[in-house]
């Protein structure tokens, strides 16, 4: 969950400067999800003992889509859950308390499992750091990997993704907007000028 730089399109508040540029459309997104699903199957040897955990809101929708594709390719379902990291963030004091999202762990838990964290955009790495802290309070996974739709650079922590949909070099003056059907009504990734410079 990375709200400050991923402001969903809001008709009441038009972007300053140039209109958003579309980087990925619906078909691109579907291909990327298929590819990452195959990569996960390959790296985890058929996704045995593997759990997908999405970081709300958009990460959990992506995790669900990945889970469906993996199940279709492998022929057997894979546990999918959601992990809210709000209580573990290091920027709560800067941004104010926010509503919590639902954490939903698969019934088997994560002990001894191969956990793949799923998020939409990898930026500073702080969300992933919070997710790793949250995971260690939930149990002891055998290994943790990270899948992201977009890696936009500007890491502030030594964190990298294992599965990347698209590497997208950005400037800090830009916003990466991930739109998903489940939340925004359509699938797309856009690059826009940053509206609020918080």
């Amino acid at each position: 969950m990375t709200p400050a730089y991923r402001t969903p399109a809001d008709p009441a508040e038009p972007a300053l400067g140039s209109p958003p540029r579309t980087i990925l459309d619906e078909a691109d997104l579907a291909r990327i999800v298929d590819r990452i699903a195959h990569q996960i199957l390959e790296k985890t040897e058929g996704a045995a003992d593997t759990v997908l955990l999405g970081i709300p809101t958009r990460g959990s929708h992506l995790a669900r889509r990945l889970g469906e594709r993996i199940a279709a390719f492998a022929g057997s379902p894979i546990p999918v859950g959601a992990l809210d990291v709000t209580l573990y963030r290091d920027d709560l004091r800067l941004r104010g308390a926010r509503a919590l999202e639902h954490t939903d762990l698969p019934p088997g838990g994560i002990d001894g499992q191969h956990v793949v964290l799923v998020d939409d955009v990898l930026f500073s790495g702080r969300t992933v750091r919070a997710a790793l802290d949250a995971l260690s309070d939930l149990g002891r996974p055998r290994a943790v990997q990270l899948a992201v739709l977009v890696d936009r650079g500007h890491r502030e922590l030594p964190i990298r993704a294992d599965y990347v949909g698209k590497n997208l070099p950005t400037s800090l003056a830009e916003n990466v907007e991930v739109l998903l059907r489940e939340v925004d009504g359509r699938d797309a990734v856009q690059l826009a000028d940053r509206r609020d410079s918080r």
Binding site: L87, R98, A99, D137
Partner: protein
């Protein structure tokens, strides 16, 4: 979100539902292998208790500790208060020690309001005189919602010593905000002046109200606050306003029985009723920790001052 929690009336519908939703997630963390959350690390919460209390103080302390806050317990007994220190001087001392939040229980109605004017930090009212006890109302609402699935449209009957009850006042205000219909049942001597202006109906006949109730909340008869005789004998009170096994049978099948504790078993509530599966008394205690965690997270988790985007 609001800055302090002084009255249940401070909470609008959205804020109240935000607290209850947050409390659900907080309750879910209790099943983790590590129950402690790092959220309030480095924050200091002072429990300032001028009145005896076991469950409320322990509940606030447990909630703060589960969120990794540092907790300082201050009880008036054995402190400078017994040497005559005023509330204001105590407040300034706490301020100087860097308290980020003060949880106050005080025998005088309105004390938390005064405190909030003197302190920079967050003030949470944990019961002031016969006035309010907002976190109790929140945990009661949470309990109703988790047992019955909703609050909107519930018929809630609050029985007993409404006059001295801060629980009743806070519950009436919050339940009205959340869309429940509240009926107060009490002897006329135990109803406050101006009760007709409350968003609740008043009845003197418990047996007539019970079959139309989804929730019955029994209040404790507060003998320590009774300087006068409000009713002839305990036996008579118990006969007319106590919840016994026969009256439990008059309730609809789904109805639940609540009590904020501590109970006078055999007085306002029969032991068999208190221990029946329809009683939520033990649940209310564990829900109290989750709800207080939610309140502290929402009031203290952010920057702690004016802005909250």
């Amino acid at each position: 979100m609001i800055r302090h929690l002084l009255s249940a009336a401070d909470l609008g519908r959205d804020d109240a539902l935000l607290v209850l939703d947050t409390a659900i997630e907080m309750a879910a963390t209790a099943s983790r292998s590590v129950k402690k959350l790092p959220t309030l690390r480095g924050r200091t919460v002072v429990n300032l208790f001028y009145e005896d209390s076991t469950r409320t103080r322990i509940s606030f302390e447990a909630a703060a500790k589960r969120l990794s806050a540092d907790v300082i317990n201050f009880s008036a007994k054995g402190s400078s208060v017994s040497k005559g220190e005023s509330l204001k001087d105590t407040a300034l001392t706490l301020q100087a020690m860097g308290a980020d939040a003060v949880v106050i229980r005080h025998p005088e109605s309105g004390a938390p309001y005064r405190l909030a004017q003197w302190l920079d930090g967050v003030v949470i009212n944990a019961g002031d005189g016969t006035h309010e006890h907002p976190t109790q109302a929140l945990l009661d609402a949470y309990t109703m919602r988790s047992r019955l699935g909703r609050i909107d449209g519930l018929r809630v009957t609050i029985v007993g010593d409404v006059l001295h009850s801060r629980v009743a006042r806070s519950n009436v205000l919050l339940l009205d905000t959340l869309g429940a219909e509240v009926t107060l049942v009490a002897p006329p001597t135990l109803l406050p002046v101006g009760v007709e202006a409350w968003p609740a109906t008043v009845s003197y006949d418990l047996d007539a109200v019970l079959p139309k109730s989804d929730v019955v909340m029994m209040l404790r008869v507060q003998r320590e606050r009774m300087n006068d005789s409000y009713f002839p004998t305990q036996r008579e009170y118990s006969r007319r306003y106590g919840l016994d096994v026969r009256r439990l049978g008059a309730l609809p099948e789904h109805a639940i029985v609540m009590h904020p504790g501590p109970m006078n078993r055999g007085m306002e509530i029969a032991p068999q009723v208190a221990d029946s599966p329809r009683s939520t008394i033990v649940e209310q205690v564990s829900n109290g920790v989750s709800v207080r965690m939610a309140v502290m997270y929402l009031l203290l988790g952010g920057s702690g001052s004016k802005e909250n985007s």
